[in-house]
């Protein structure tokens, strides 16, 4: 069994490339393919909360795992996660091709380290290439999300 965004799947080809299984078979096309060799981060997904590159894995590698893709980050009613909202508000989105991978990497970072420094954010997203933004507003967005998530905690 594989759980993707809360839905359980039992029927799959274990030898299929994970990125293609998500994109082609489950129509979760928010996971992007930029290099297909594990160096750009566009295909980042969360496997049991850890950011992983789906272009480097096969379906059998994630059996009994819990996967979250970009489609599973917002609440079911469509309300954006604070990280997503912060990406919009801070102007962190240009062409958007790196955005899903960036949001998921940020998601994993803030789970582990809710109060990162800018330098720690820089380190955390080093595996995610972005050609458009120079990363500045992406870092702004993640810092903003951390601040907002903090305010939400009692």
């Amino acid at each position: 069994m594989i759980t993707v965004n809360g839905i359980n799947y039992y029927d799959y080809d274990p030898e299929r490339k994970l990125s293609l299984w998500l994109r082609e078979d489950l129509s979760l096309t928010g996971t992007k393919i930029g290099c297909d060799i594990g160096v750009c981060g566009s295909c980042t997904i969360l496997i049991n909360g850890e950011p992983k590159l789906s272009c480097r894995l096969k379906v059998k590698d994630v059996e009994n795992c819990n996967i979250i893709t970009i489609e599973g980050v917002a609440l079911p009613d469509g309300t954006l996660h604070p990280i997503q909202q912060a990406f919009i508000d801070a102007g962190a989105i240009q062409c958007g091709f790196c955005t899903p991978g960036m949001v998921l990497t940020a998601y994993a970072l803030l789970k582990k380290n809710p109060h990162p420094t800018r330098q720690q954010v820089r380190q955390a997203i080093r595996g995610n290439l972005c050609r458009c933004t120079g990363y500045q507003q992406i870092i702004d967005a993640i810092m903003l999300a951390a601040e907002r998530l903090d305010l939400k905690q009692p």
């Binding site: 930029g34 970009i70 102007g91 955005t99 997203i125 050609r131 933004t133 500045q136 507003q137 870092i139």
Partner: protein, 744 residues
């Protein structure tokens, strides 16, 4: 907190935005390219029989199957959509394998037998320029795609008067655009006979021309629709259009939808790059610090096909002396055919190379004269009323070079920090340096093409508005900028305006969304359309109420004394009730430019932008590793339409400039591009870059109806020389070629 506005942000942050490869059509087939292994050869024979027997393979399409023209190109029609006989590059596509799945198509590629007759490739532009060299494109008289020049004053006499003459050579690397989304296209023949093309491209109209030419049909028979684009930077023109043309060809022959999505390897192998330049400069100076003359010889490796080399090198010609007043100039610029991968448009378009040379050259000159590099620039840079090297008098807009320079000097504390620079001092643990560069840039196309753009504002019966312009979204936020300008003009909230899905069948071709012209040209057209629309609505209201509308504000129509006449929605209802359509088509045409190709004189651009960037860095004296400490930029952008998006352009441009300076290089070995993925092609990552600062200088341009100018390219053309200068002050060594590798 002020928040950013983007009409596409929600879709992108939730993964719902549809890029081309995300789309599937019913019964869709997949095609993949087969490349030439040799940079120059004759195609003798291509045997597809074994491949056709493999599972899932439907067809192998070759040049013989092309119903229209085999060759196409934006300026010279020299690019074979599929090779029929002559191979000029390892990016040439010999055939397409079409199969039920992409994996099946890829699996069939090795089964295709190809016989080539090798020819000796020409890989060095200087060799190609030798009159004895083989002519690579027999239909063209020489291996030059173009030759541009500037002739002003008398360099020979000026050099006699000069107190010193300096001579320097510079070279720049071939650079890959590295849009994160590789090329992708889906084409299908619609039941009405129109070939519908979905893709990610710089300019859908350019794609439409490629597709129509290949199929041999009229422009009306092709409709190109731009889906979400995963970046362009000037790079999604010819190659993206060729991918669309090939998918269309397969769809035309097989009567089924066909998708082609490139791997990164194919994309980097086949797509055009930033031109590598070799530049030789001789500068004559007097003791007072005036530049008397410049003689420049510039050679651009255009690679196997012409693409837009004549236009790219034209900008280099006009801007060949940087932003300085030079009374005597002899510039010769050559675009050259070789068998390397072809070169074409890339953000900056012929200016990053020039700035890398000139912004170091002026510092070398200043040092020789014993004048500090800032004073030297201030003596020679263009000012209000200055005449450029092509004889254009800068008087129709504010020349703000001093303003951008002063801003960066102050914000970076340049003069104090310059005193701290290490100059390769052996006693320093790490070498510190600060450096800057300045530029001007002609806005939009100049003599590269006809400059016009249009916009349609179409108000619906409920008062909501559909907007469309001739500029296209490549990730930079151009649609959002257009919406912001329309909202301001009409006095409506942003959410009442929707940008229509762009299509080549709705609006006239407004030229490519390149040359940082989107905001000024499209924005200009939106302002014109809004004025026409307000006149239509205003006249209707006047006719039926007798009241004069003087303002559209907060969804209301106000009379000259600011009294409410009626709401926007009521006014629109009134229009429709009286059979008046609130529909406006606006055209913006900037002032004409002039150009004499013989002398290289004329008013090359209708207005100019000014910028300055600086960088601080450290160099490790043991390893030579450069660490960027910060980067700062000030540009006169006319008017800030969308501040967050504008900053994004600054940051992205500076980052790309830093990559150009320190990392990026795409060498060709025997014509074959060496790095074909991001493991070998080094893009700047988050940890390579420092914090950046973006400063807006706003001097609304009288020529621009919205006041705004452009930023995409200016932001990208200064960081390499700024870093080169900082490295000089850190290490005491000048680096004349890119990317800079510190020698210890």
């Amino acid at each position: 907190m002020k928040k950013a506005f983007r009409n596409d942000a929600h879709a992108k942050v939730t993964g719902q935005a549809i890029y081309t490869d995300d789309l599937k059509l019913h019964d869709m087939l997949h095609a993949v390219p087969i490349y030439s292994e040799l940079p120059r050869a004759k195609l003798i024979f291509l045997d597809t029989s074994a491949a056709l027997k493999l599972p899932g393979v439907i067809a192998v399409i070759t040049a013989k199957d092309i119903p229209g023209n085999i060759y196409y190109g934006q300026i010279i029609k020299d690019y074979p959509v599929l090779v029929d006989k002559d191979i000029n590059s390892t990016g040439d596509v010999l055939a397409l394998v079409v199969a039920k799945t992409r994996e099946q198509a890829i699996a069939a590629v090795p089964s295709i037998k190809i016989e080539l007759q090798p020819l000796k490739p020409i890989l060095d532009p200087e060799e190609a320029m030798n009159p004895e060299a083989d002519i690579l494109h027999p239909s063209h008289v020489s291996n030059l795609t173009n030759y541009h020049r500037v002739r002003r004053g008398d360099v020979t006499s000026a050099e006699k008067e000069a107190d010193i003459i300096i001579e320097e050579e510079f070279s720049t690397s071939r650079v890959e655009h590295s849009y994160l989304e590789p090329e992708s296209a889906i084409c299908h023949l619609r039941c009405d006979g129109v070939m519908e093309v979905f893709g990610s491209m710089q300019h859908p109209f350019s794609t439409r021309r490629f597709v129509a030419s290949t199929l041999g049909v009229e422009l009306k028979d092709v409709e190109v629709k731009l889906l979400t684009s995963g970046g362009g930077f000037g790079g999604k023109d010819d190659t993206a259009a060729l991918v669309c043309a090939r998918a269309a060809l397969c769809a035309w022959i097989l009567k089924k939808p066909v998708k082609i999505t490139y791997t990164r390897e194919w994309s980097m192998r086949e797509s055009y790059k930033r031109h590598p330049y070799k530049m030789r400069y001789r500068m004559g100076l007097n003791k007072e610090g005036k530049i008397l003359s410049v003689k420049a010889r510039i050679v651009a490796d255009g690679g196997a096909y012409c693409s837009v080399t004549p236009w790219v090198t034209w900008r280099s010609t006009v801007q060949s002396c940087g932003c300085y007043e030079v009374p005597n100039v002899e510039t010769d610029v050559y675009g050259v055919y070789t068998n390397n991968i072809f070169s074409g448009a890339m953000r900056g378009f012929g200016s990053p190379q020039i700035n890398f040379a000139v912004e170091q050259l002026v510092e070398i000159a200043a040092e020789k004269l014993g004048i500090d590099e800032i004073t030297f620039r201030q003596i020679n840079m263009v000012k209000q009323g200055s005449t450029t090297i092509t004889g254009q008098v800068l008087e129709n807009h504010l020349v703000s070079l001093n303003q951008v320079l002063d801003t960066v000097l102050k914000e970076s504390d340049y003069k104090n920090k310059r005193q701290l620079c290490s100059f390769g001092n052996p006693n320093h643990q790490e070498w510190y340096g600060i450096g800057l560069a300045i530029c001007y840039r002609g806005v939009s196309l100049g003599a590269e093409g006809t400059d016009v753009n249009s916009a349609i504002l179409y108000v619906q019966p409920d008062g909501s508005v559909l907007l469309e312009t001739g500029v296209f979204e490549n990730g930079q936020g151009s649609e959002s900028a257009m919406i912001l300008i329309a909202a301001e003009q009409l006095g409506l909230p942003l959410e009442r305006i929707r940008y229509r899905m762009p299509s080549t069948s709705n609006i006239p071709d407004g030229g490519s969304t390149v040359a940082s012209r989107g905001t000024i040209m499209g924005g200009g057209a939106v302002v014109k359309a809004a004025n026409i629309l307000k006149q239509i609505v205003g006249e209707a209201v006047q006719k039926y109420t007798g009241k004069t509308v003087s303002n559209f504000e907060n969804s209301q129509l106000l009379d000259p004394s600011g009294v409410l006449i009626m709401s926007w929605d009521e006014a629109i209802k009134l229009c429709y009730n009286n059979q008046i359509y609130p529909y406006a088509f606006g055209v913006f045409q900037p002032p004409q430019i002039s150009w004499d190709e013989e002398t290289g004189q004329g008013n090359a651009y209708y207005t100019w932008v000014y910028g300055c960037q600086a960088a601080e860095l450290k160099v490790d004296p043991k390893t030579g590793i450069v660490k960027l400490l910060n980067m700062i930029a000030a540009h006169d952008i006319g008017k800030a339409v969308n501040p967050f998006a504008l900053k994004g352009q600054y940051y992205g441009g500076m980052a790309m400039g830093a990559g150009y300076a320190l990392f990026e290089n795409c060498p060709c070995e025997n014509g074959l591009v060496v790095p074909t993925n991001f493991n070998k092609y080094r893009l700047p990552r988050s940890i390579d870059l420092p914090e950046m600062k973006a400063i807006f200088i706003e001097n609304p341009d009288p020529v621009s109806p919205s006041g705004a100018k452009g930023i995409g390219e200016p932001a990208n053309e200064l960081m390499a020389p700024a870093i080169a200068n900082a490295i000089y002050y850190a290490t005491g060594k000048r680096y004349h070629s890119l990317p800079i590798r510190i020698k210890i």
